[in-house]
Symmetry: C3
Subunit: 458 residues, 3 copies
């Protein structure tokens, strides 16, 4: 494992990492104490509330509508994203471990940030949380984990916590603008999660461009078993994506339809990703990079229109196109971006999240604009497009325009926010690795050692 004393001094994080973790965790405790309370469905007053609202069954508690989907989303965040990033031959600890750290911090900060914007009761000054808040907090983390994909192996855990702090903050703001002010529909987060997260990560990575990254070239590949580990991530993302896109959809047909649409779109992506992957090799061999990533593009792109009456056939077409575009991105666009734009994107989030997310936003614009009462029914149109309250007069066509506008807002937030955060990360106090030390777990992880008898007393 080499002599650890040769290591450059600036990856010393024994002060900064514990300090950031402790300070931020204490801040969370204080802020939760001031702001966060159980909502009426998770509070012990529920039996009273039930009576008051004439609810006859505990099965009407939102917990039972959403908990199975929540757990699936939870698996996607921690195992899905985490293992997808274990593919590097010597950065599996960092892939899955820092993913864990980002998400565990991010979800706490997200509960607060999203709470202030969406669940704050102005009378009491409290945020009342339930299962839907937990799902949204996980979603919020997804944005930062996507960004981590572009930075994998090139940053310190302290930098990642900074990326997360700002990422969650930006996310909550853009989400508020897109979902509340523009009143877009985005059940699966094509725009608010994927387009935002993708461009946020790309902008940071672009600012942090490393001229001499080829010095750690020998560590940038995968080995046989690290690619199998990454498939764990891929498959859990792939399998549970219907839950991701349906987790916060409307009860009843909304969740049902979102799951079906995502299921078929993903299936379609697999076939076109395999086809283009095979086409891109001299004798038709497949590339694990494409199978691990491009197969998921259909799920990303279905996000914003998952709840819509896109028809199973429409969902298949979305998956079909995005599987092709995403694989093409890995074959052609990522190398191009790196050579021409000086953009180093370790996991290829440009192809899996940024572009399919953007496309998903625009697809939702088209599908929303094409909505009619005959297809949705009167009531269905109102509830699916959310044309209620002060948006009751909005036509489907107008809604389509707002969907497109929302996508642009997400991208703008990602690019501008990412550029700013990138410059913050350039301050030389965060303990990031040298160019010849990237993609190496040895920098931030202790070597494996015996678990018992560590004091060598025998």
């Amino acid at each position: 494992m080499g002599n650890c004393c040769d290591r450059p001094k600036d990856t010393y994080i024994r002060v900064s990492l514990p300090a950031v973790c402790f300070v931020w965790q204490i801040a969370m405790v204080v802020l939760f104490g001031v702001f966060i309370r159980y909502n009426e469905e998770s509070d012990a007053h529920w039996p009273e509330y039930k009576k008051k609202q004439n609810i006859t069954s505990d099965a009407e508690n939102d917990f039972y509508y959403r908990y199975p989907s929540f757990q699936d989303v939870h698996v996607m965040i921690f195992v899905g994203f985490g293992f997808l990033m274990t593919f590097l031959k010597r950065y599996s600890f960092g892939g899955v471990g820092f993913n864990f750290l980002i998400a565990a911090f991010g979800l706490q900060w997200a509960l607060l940030m999203q709470g202030w914007f969406h669940s704050l009761d102005y009378n009491t000054g409290k945020i009342y949380i339930g299962i839907e808040n937990l799902i949204n907090a996980d979603f919020c983390c997804a944005g930062c984990l996507i960004a981590y994909g572009a930075l994998l192996g090139k940053v310190s855990p302290v930098q990642l916590l900074v990326v997360t702090l700002f990422g969650i903050t930006l996310f909550a703001v853009e989400e508020y603008i897109i979902l509340n002010l523009l009143h877009c529909r985005d059940a699966g987060g094509s725009m608010v999660i994927h387009a935002f997260g993708g461009y946020y990560g790309l902008a940071i990575s672009w600012v942090l461009y490393r001229q001499n990254l080829n010095q750690s070239k020998h560590l940038q590949g995968s080995v046989y078993h690290s690619d199998v580990f990454a498939m764990i991530g891929t498959l859990f993302l792939w399998m549970f994506w219907p839950s991701f896109n349906s987790a916060i959809a409307n009860h009843g047909d909304g969740q049902h339809r979102a799951a079906i649409n995502t299921y078929v779109a993903l299936a379609s992506s697999v076939l076109t990703a395999v086809a283009v992957s095979s086409l891109s090799h001299r004798t038709g061999k497949l590339d694990m990079v494409h199978i691990q990533n491009a197969t998921l593009a259909g799920g990303v792109a279905m996000g914003a229109s998952a709840e819509f009456m896109i028809t199973p056939y429409g969902a298949l077409i979305v998956g079909f196109c995005c599987g092709i575009i995403s694989t093409f991105g890995f074959v052609v666009v990522t190398p191009f971006l790196e050579r021409k734009l000086k953009l180093q994107d370790t996991c290829g989030i440009h192809n899996l999240h940024a572009v399919p997310g953007m496309l998903g936003g625009f697809i939702s614009a088209i599908v929303a604009a094409a909505a009619t009462e005959s297809v949705y029914s009167k009531e269905g149109l109102v509830s699916t497009l959310g044309l209620e309250g002060k948006f009751a007069n909005r036509s489907p066509g107008t809604q389509g325009g707002y969907q497109a506008a929302g996508t642009c807002v997400a991208i703008a937030f990602g690019l501008v926010g990412g550029a700013i955060v990138g410059f913050i990360l350039k301050i030389p106090i965060w303990g990031d690795p040298a160019d010849d030390n990237c993609f190496d777990d040895e920098v931030y992880w202790e070597e494996s050692k015996a678990r018992i008898m560590p004091l060598g007393t025998y």
Copy 2:
């Protein structure tokens, strides 16, 4: 990794694989466009439908009864089967990757085939799909994935897509005959999935017998970590098998009982598989092959009678016997089949699926024949055995006879269909590997390489 230019020309799949993927995926898009629509529970007209049917709660949408089980089944198909097939030292990519490809294509074709047989509305000519169709489509794929177990490492991805196309078609037909015409009960698919899939795969493998497979003998074993990867598959199959057998059972006690029966049968299989595995070794050591496979036999065999009042004690006995039979199969029968019948069964599906599936069918015949009104209650007997409509006059004894007949139909379909498909696969256009190239990912998968900087521009 050797010089890739030495490879025999006939594994060139750069034309055939993309062509098959694109053509079939486009066909899916067209056929979905013509035939597939949302059913009343996933359509935006659900609020209207709810009112018309006097349904008071969204919780009555079938989605909430079945979605958690669906996701468990989904995990079994993609992670369960996929990782169970990663045990070979150099065929883990093919194991999990081609499993992914088969299932992603298969489920689309299954939605159509099963839809035409089971969910077609003759007035509109449309197939209306909901969550139960997704579960059934996953089930349908399971049959083909079982067959893949016998072929693992010896066929090309193009051949696998052919196996899947015909497999799903045959499955839908035999399922229609068994479940609709013979009116058998088979909640967990002992006969329609496991017996059919098992014999289908064995018949194909028998036709494709390779005289000189010993030329790739050095690749047929596992390595330490590939066996650990396979345990991921085993455990997810084992844990979620109660969901598999209860996913499409009747609401209420049906699903509840199916889960309990499967849970205890599986537990029992583990102990007898361990016992026989230990007995079969000179000093009592355990064999990972048995632990990875035979522990699941109880779940397979409980499939057809999962919903019946077999009693927890009956389920334990089923698991007890099948754990023994399955392990015995791995120790004695598989080597025998190969030597005497020229049958090369890479994963031993004969012992895990074919035989326990067949036994499961016959067990269900006995249990059905023994059903009485005092045990089931009048209403319970009707709903559990499905003795309604034009089958209202069928006695439990007659139903038992039909269960046995259904098992035979499944086996016959598997053997005949598999033999025919095997001969189709012998046409030398599918790019299958040479005998000395089997069990080797290098044939169809690109070597691992750096993900960024692929153009070598530094």
Copy 3:
């Protein structure tokens, strides 16, 4: 792999292991036949029962309230605990495989033992089981699997079955005393599962102290990929812990609140575990041991008070403190225990289960004592603290006292029971490995070999 003929004779388990498996499994069949039946929700009489009880919807079957959580718990038991114990470089088969064996046997015995204590109908002499019994059986196994963590690599599978037989028995008794006689609340089992299981394992390990364990020192570490495998276990435990703590909580707000509390407590543990891990290394590097284990401490400690109105902020504090204490335990206490107390704790269960479980019990005492009607509502207080029936007159303060007493009972049962079982295991008939053969799969597992062509007939 060395020459297997050199192995000491006493690891010969070809008689004892199959004998124990067969005898115990047959006993299970007989006892299930005598005692176990379906309860009213899983019996075919459910339609009748539903009418009699005026239940209008199948969704009221407890199956639908608890099955998703059950499956999550099931994953924790088999994949969570199983993979957490794969970290050793050459004991991954034993880690995941014996975990599988223990749990599969344990859950059957638990259904009986817990049934006799909790679900026995004195009129019919039968135990009526449903989904809640399955969850409790899984919980019961967790106690034994925790104990296995201390013994990992040092005992034979036969010994483990003995540990399980006695462990489940002791568990059922202490659980009966704590939950029924003392009437403690312990939804997530801080005391009955973690404190008991932890001290049970430690006491056994203390009795089985091996003077010369350093002879197998070279096998006590992890390798790179075995640590990644262990992260699979960690993450599935971490993600599904909210289901563990809410699985048998009260319907409605109880389950909802338990999930929220556990979710935030776990998030908090991650940050403080990372902080202390970094602090404990010279340059701030993280240790995989801490990330794999201490991050879970918050879930353990939240168990007993998961259902209480501890507030999200209170849950964060619990996670905060336990993350620190647990990591500190791995850094300082485990080495100390081994040097001074002759206690070899392979997985460090002292730090992950014993201490956080004990703390969880005492925390629940404080939280229960502080409960007021204004916070819980009158009805909520009664249902959350279980102050019904003959316990209706108990005040929250008294309940707090009983919670503390229950914790002490759990610890006492663990220590005394473990010591006795330890002495039983010292009888030299169980085939345990020699000191220089510990932590080595080769002792109980056959070497990997080709799966087809095993008879070498080519």
